[in-house]
Structures are given as structure tokens and as C-alpha cells.
């Protein structure tokens, strides 16, 4: 409401905003919107987009007609012989793995990021500590893949040159092939993700914490507040909007996650996620219809967060 006043103070032609917007709109329409629509169209087609998906149905097999690619995308990973096999196969399917990734990775990256942001604010070598935590973020997924493949290295000889197996055998356990043993391998990949993305969360949360006026913190210290009270009753509530932004960003990042899995296991040994499965269908199997259907399903998972973002955006605007 107040914004309208601001705008009316300034004399603005109706075309001026569009001049500022035009370059961005043109580029996004050409490189994102149009290809997306094209992709949605392909998801109802056959492998190379030359006929309807319904033509790929076979006699005596389940068929969803024009939605056949979606039937494949949703059910093909499941072993439907009994309720138990469905349950078991779900938890190593791309969807089950996605749930593990979401729960574990978002919790730990945002949680660690918040705690680190507050803790390092209190020490003298703050910049150094933050640089070290953030450093993995500067590394490519390919580079991180090399680093962690070496950490997880499973020596077939007596010597374990991977540090994790060296510690493990040092404690008297048998060495483990961390990247191929289910279900531990998915969690090993998630560790790489946490290692990489905690710095991202910490950086955003830290700058929010630092934007809290020093006077507020000092005043509450004079009033006798403990560090934990300052953290839970002052800092966290004030930066709550930033925390929501960080969580949303992380959820979206995890849903799109591709590189770590692709580089480290290629989606084998039950570590597939939605994006790697999509890649396999599209590029390895050349099944454009199936691949694009998985892409569309991925978008559907993301829609709730889009709605959440927009709600927050609208609320923010009306409060201005």
C-alpha cells in the first residue's frame, strides 16, 4: 500500500518498467519457458517424440494410455510382488532416496549452518573459521567426488588408503565398501552434500545475524541474558525470515540434486535420485518421453515450495 505512494511520488511512464524487464524476460522465455513447454509436450510422446505415448503400450501389460510415461516413471522402480517388496524397493528407489536426502541433508545443513554462524561470531578467528567451513562450497561436485571417493576408498588389499576404512579397521571392524553397500551408501553421499552445503547456509545466516543491530545484543547482555537466551530469543526470531529462505533454497537444491550421485555412484547400488534417473532415461537410454515425464514429476514435487515462496513474497509485500 505504502509502495503505491512511493511510486506515485515519482513520475514514471508506463513503459519504463518494461524497459528494465525486457532483456531478462526475453532471455528467460527463450532459454527456460519455451524449452519447458517443449519438454512437457515430449512427456506425452514416445521415445523420440514422434508419436503418442499410448503407442508404446504392450498387450497384457498395464497401460495408462497417453500417461504411459508417467506410469513408467512412478511404478517401474517398485517390486510389486508383495506389500513388503513394494515397501523395500520404495526405499531404494529414486523417490525413497529423495525423502532420505531431504530429511537428513536439509536438517543438517541448516542446523549446522545456524549453529556455526552463531558460534564463530564469538571467536577471534571468525573469518578463518568461516572460510574453512565454506571452502567445500568452492569446490566442484566433480572435485568433491574425487575427494570423498578417496575418503571412502575400499582397499581390496590389506592396506586401506581410504581414511574412513583405515579408522574402521583400526577399531577392529571389517572394511566396508561404503559406496556400494545398501542402505549406507546413500547416507555416505548425503554426508558429501552436507559437507559441501553447510557453508552456503552458514554464510547466508551469518550475514543475517550480523545485520542485527549490535545495540540489541548489548542491551540484552546488560539485562543479564545468557548466550543461549540471546541465540534462541533474539537472534533466531529476528532472522526467522532468512531461515525460511535458506530452508526453501536447500529443499529445492536437494530436489534438483544430480552431480554428487552422478559422479560418485552413477546412481547404481540403489542410490538413484530423481534427477539422475531422469538423466539416465534421457541420455543413456534415449527415452525422451520417459525422461521428460520424470522431469515433470520433479517439477510437481517442487510446486508446493513455489507456492510457499510466493505466499511469503505476497505477505512481505503487503507488510511493506
Amino acid at each position: 500500500m505504502a509502495r503505491a505512494t512511493t511510486a506515485s511520488v515519482m513520475k514514471q511512464g508506463k513503459s519504463v518498467p518494461w524497459l528494465y524487464l525486457l532483456p531478462a524476460l526475453i532471455v528467460m522465455i527463450i532459454f527456460i519457458l519455451y524449452p519447458m513447454i517443449n519438454t512437457i509436450g515430449l512427456s506425452f510422446g514416445n521415445a523420440d517424440g514422434t508419436a503418442s505415448a499410448a503407442t508404446t503400450c504392450r498387450e497384457g501389460q498395464p497401460c495408462w494410455g497417453v500417461f504411459e510415461n508417467y506410469r513408467y516413471a512412478l511404478t517401474n522402480e517398485l517390486n510389486t510382488s508383495s506389500a513388503k517388496t513394494v515397501w523395500d524397493s520404495f526405499w531404494i528407489s529414486s523417490y525413497g532416496n529423495m525423502i532420505k536426502w531431504l530429511l537428513v541433508m536439509v536438517t543438517f545443513t541448516v542446523g549446522f549452518g545456524l549453529v556455526f554462524a552463531v558460534l564463530v561470531d564469538r571467536i577471534k578467528q571468525e573469518a578463518l573459521a568461516k572460510s574453512i567451513i565454506f571452502m567445500p562450497m568452492a569446490i566442484s561436485f566433480v572435485g568433491a567426488g574425487v575427494i570423498w571417493k578417496f575418503v571412502y576408498n575400499y582397499g581390496t588389499f590389506q592396506v586401506q588408503t581410504g581414511i574412513l576404512n583405515a579408522i574402521f579397521t583400526g577399531l577392529g571392524f571389517e572394511p566396508v565398501s561404503w559406496l556400494s553397500k545398501m542402505p549406507v551408501n546413500t547416507f555416505m553421499l548425503i554426508v558429501v552434500g552436507i559437507w559441501m552445503w553447510t557453508g552456503f547456509c552458514m554464510t547466508l545466516l551469518s550475514s543475517a545475524i550480523k545485520s542485527i543491530p549490535e545495540e540489541i545484543i548489548e542491551a540484552s547482555k546488560i539485562d543479564g541474558a545468557t548466550n543461549f537466551e540471546i541465540f534462541s530469543k533474539i537472534q533466531v526470531p529476528i532472522i526467522a525470515p532468512t531461515i525460511v529462505v535458506v530452508i526453501t533454497t536447500m529443499v529445492i537444491n536437494v530436489l534438483k540434486l544430480f552431480d554428487i550421485v552422478y559422479v560418485m555412484t552413477g546412481g547404481n547400488f540403489g542410490t538413484n535420485v530423481i534427477a539422475t534417473r531422469m538423466y539416465t532415461e534421457m541420455y543413456t537410454n534415449a527415452q525422451y518421453g520417459r525422461g521428460t515425464a520424470i522431469a515433470v514429476i520433479l517439477i510437481l514435487f517442487i510446486v508446493p515450495f513455489i507456492v510457499m515462496n510466493i505466499r511469503r513474497f505476497t505477505k512481505q509485500e503487503s507488510m511493506r
Binding site: V9, M28, P35, M36, R122, V146, I147, K256, M278, I310
Partner: protein, 341 residues
Amino acid sequence: MTTATMTKPLSKSRKNRTPSKVGTTIGIVIILIIWLVPTIGLLVTSFRPVALINTTGWWTALNVDNGPVSALHPDPNASFAEKLGTRFTINNYVDALTGYRGTSTYLDACASGTKPLGMNCNLSDLLNPRGMGRAFVNSIIVTVPSTIFPIIIALFAAYAFSWMDFKGRYAIFAILVGLQVVPIQMTLVPVLRMFAGMGINGTFPAVWLFHTGFGLPYAIYMLRNSMSTLPKDLFESAYLDGANHWQVFTKIVLPLTMPAIASLAIFQFLWVWNDLLVSLVFLGGSKPVMTYQISNMVSSLGAGWHLLTAAAFLSMLLPMIVFFALQKYFVRGMMAGAVKG
């Protein structure tokens, strides 16, 4: 006045040592060690000879008497420093930079007089298409424009979304929020076909265009978040002084948005530099970038840890320098200071 005199000694004491402070410091140090160990392992390994990498753990690098006979110092009574000197090497980096793939090392092979296949044994080998030196140059050519283009375009759009009234503002921004999360795989095939029609597949402009398009939604979203938190008073007083949008944009908004631009530039730079998929699809082996080169080595060399670790560390160098150099933009209170002034 009282606030000013009070704040100084207090903010000093904030970083002083108290009992809980020592605990905090110890906790942080443990976390930092855990965070660093994987990378230290990579770094140490990248300087060790092949024979030692595969037979001893990198954490035993200072034990100069282990490993296979071939890796031991010929004189068992040599000093620790002498032995240590033979346990580390820069050969892995030379081999990775030049793309040497033989059983010896690039330097030894050249010193022996027989040039390795396809090598000239001079500086031109740094531009060997199989090496990380050439890939480094290609990565820079890809990354710099792919960082600058989207930020410039996004600045204008973000300003419009933050401080201009126009029809469909909410609707367009809602679409933009949605586009931000579109997975890259969702658009690769149609764009690839489009580029094939334009005949620019395998060229740098193809990658620049794709990264600009894909970087925009997040860039606009982030810059708008930053710009829209600027205090309204700033704008009102500027408008009352007769400033137009262009002046407000260039003289007030851009300087105040600098921290956001810096962090956005860091993230976009890292994103493009570290991307594998886009370079793989639009450039491929014709203009290999660093990530492409490493992933190629992973699949073609299997466990060639000496080359992989050196190559991986080379690919990490520039992003780290950029991050450390731009850290000053995260300086606290820049915004608050500007408003106060």
C-alpha cells in the same frame, strides 16, 4: 553519546576469553579439523609419488621408512630431511597440467630425450588438449561472461520488481520464482536442438547463453530480495529531490546493493566454474573445461589417484582465490552505515 561510549568496550569484551569461550573454541577447532581432513588428504596425496599413494595411507606421509622398496631412500642411514625429500614430488601436477598419461613421468620422459607421444617438451605442452592447463583457460573463458551477463540483466529486472509499479508484477515474479527451480535437465534437449539450428553447438557463446538464461531467475530473485529491503525513505527523499528512476538506480540502489552483487557474483561464478553437465552437453571434448577433464580422467583412468588428486586440486585453486578476495564484501554493517549517513 552514551551508546557510543558503551558499545566500544563491550564489543571488545564480546571476543574475550571466558570459561564458556574456551569450550566454544575447542568445539569449533574439532569441527574445523573434521571439515578439513578430506581436503588435506587430497592435497597431501597430490604431492606423493604413485608407488606410495597406492601402498600407504596419506596420513603416514611423514613416516619416511614405510612403503615398497622402490620408494625407499637408497641409504637407510640418510637423514629424515633427505628421506622426506624423496617422498614428495610435483610430478603429479606437471603430468596433470600437460596431460601426460604414460607409465613414467612427463619430466623424466622429456629428460630421457624421447619425447612422449604428442608432446613437445616445452611450454606449448601446457596447452595440450588433454591437459588441465588448457582446461583452465577454457574454464575461464566460459565462466567470466557467464557470471557478468546474467548479473547485469538481473540488476535491471530486480530494480523493476522492487521499486516500480506495473501490471502483472506479482504474476511475473511468481513465474520467476518458479523458473528458479526448474532443473537444468528439463531444458537441455530443446535448447540443444535450438543451438544446432543456429550452428553454435560446441562454441563458447552457446554456454554463455545457456548460463545467462539459467542464472537469471535466481539472480533476479536474490537481488530483488536485497533491493526491496532498502528503506523506503531513501527513495522518497530522492524522488522529492527530483531524481528519476535511472538516477536512483545507478546512484543509490547499485552502491547499496554491492554486497548482494558480490555474493551473487561469487555464487554464479562458482556455479558455472563447477558445472559439469552444461559444458559436457554444449562444449564436450572440443573445448574441455576442468570439470569435464577430471570426469574424463575418472572414467578413463579408474584409480589413477596421483593424477586425479592433482587435477582436482588445480580445479579448486581459482574458486578459492575468488572467494577469499571477495570476502571483504560481506563486511557487516555496510547497509546500516549507508542509511545512517
